[in-house]
Point group: C2
Chain length 338, copies 2
Amino acid sequence: MINVGINGYGTIGRRVADAVAAQKDMKLVGATKVKPDYRARVAVQKGIPLYVPNQEVAAAFDRAGVPYAGDLSKLLSEVDVVVDATPELGAEYKPVFEKHGKKAIFQGGEEHELTGFSFVAQVNYTAAKGRKYVRVVSCNTTGLCRVLGAVDSGFGITKARAVLARRAADPDEVSKGPIDAIVPDPVSLPSHHGPDVQSVMKSLKITTMAIKVPVTHMHLHSLIATVRGRPTEEEVIGALESAPRVMLVDGKAGFKSTAQVIDWAREVGRPRNDVFEAVVWRDSVTVVDDEVYMFLGVHQEAIVTPENIDAIRAVASEVPAEESMRTTDATLGIRHPT
Amino acid sequence: MINVGINGYGTIGRRVADAVAAQKDMKLVGATKVKPDYRARVAVQKGIPLYVPNQEVAAAFDRAGVPYAGDLSKLLSEVDVVVDATPELGAEYKPVFEKHGKKAIFQGGEEHELTGFSFVAQVNYTAAKGRKYVRVVSCNTTGLCRVLGAVDSGFGITKARAVLARRAADPDEVSKGPIDAIVPDPVSLPSHHGPDVQSVMKSLKITTMAIKVPVTHMHLHSLIATVRGRPTEEEVIGALESAPRVMLVDGKAGFKSTAQVIDWAREVGRPRNDVFEAVVWRDSVTVVDDEVYMFLGVHQEAIVTPENIDAIRAVASEVPAEESMRTTDATLGIRHPT
């Protein structure tokens, strides 16, 4: 049994907490939280022990009447692995985890250098085995690695290019914009997403551009990959179908936009309408000469959830890659290719 | 003096009417309009004679008390050139123009085959000379031809790729969406924009993808062009600076998004905040190996206005290309490279 603590109960922490609780080989010890808000109350209702990072937060919890189980030190003393899901405070917390001698999983908001190892389960699970610190890459990088990894394995990418249309805000981030503008972000090219993909797929040649658009639900990538092989469109689709955590959807079946992907997740009863898969529009997969084109959707809040679970197993168990991914996928309701 | 009539007083027709009125070598005879709405009243206030396409419309104008000068036949009898700015009804009207023996300029919503000639002033003005029918291409195609034309002339494009993030609706189109989704449009690739560019730049190899996003002001293209020459970024910028109707803006100078480009147009007093130029973010121009990257903004309502004016001169005068473009630009307040 792997005892797991979560540091930070925000967008990612909440999801990883539920996913950890769903694993038979893991125990969710609890999660730290900095505000005694409605999310804290829901956590308490669900039976998730909350911990506080310091005395001020403890006092705020006391005032609000939200119960907590102890402080961060107490949480750390009871876990084997801590998942840091703070808003880019991982570098600050790493020495604390180190002092307690705990293994830690960090998120993509941190620099690669914090751990020296950036993780996407289907690319480098095995290389993470036994490591003390692992960084799960960001949502966009995870989506790119899953899909480009499948295309690269199948047909050899000589050059990849991606244009990322990024959601401007998560659904609960009411004070962010824009509301009527397209924002080149950054204006200076290329964007950081290419180098971040290379922190996982080290030999991949890739250049990325990113814009921000007024939506809340998903990112949408336009991918253009030059490949050595000359696959047919059916062969590219076949490679994506055999890759884990890639979901193919059809425009003709009603998936007209990112909105229908999220609506599908609501229909099938996914928790928080989470789409854990990299979503590729099957009818967008096109081959022109030696270039493969496709649209890729990334649910920014959810896609890294399975990677965090696998990262925990990679650093704290002997479970091999395929078995871990299969188990994770089964517990989260993700179709796993046979 | 070239007598000009406008068929359809909508997004494009209104702008071309004002631009025609601003030319010393043209006379705006009038414009047809199908609804006696506030736009019709403003036209009357501005002294633009309105014409009605049929008896029902005439009756509606009578009921609303909006004066008109006659019907389409009367308008056509008084013009040398008619600019068709109807919502893709050009094929229906062409026989009417033909019956009256009038030259006609059509818009990019029509098929290339309607005229057999697709027009972007700086690419093929001279070839349009003496033609009876010319099609001014759509806003996106115009922007792509201006910018890719400049890059191709300078450095030889072997393969261009563009991802178009399209505005979902014009500012006055209140019943269109989406409001919180990114729409691959079309899902099946490539989009029609590539072939449309090839209707002007016949030997250019180009593949395009397009998505629709919830903004009203401008389209934003992410361009990736493989070039034979190995230009520096400064050389690419130089080529764009010497091209007509391309405006370079700097993110560092406050042009953080499409919204600031429109705000700039308001500040400088452009009519209807129109941006007639193809807008390239200077700090986005990047060369990676043999590929040139940049962001291109296209004001969908305005960019084809100067092309319509030049198309009129190309079919109905002996004015050479450079002189026509220079005159058009001077009257519209567009910087023209010397």
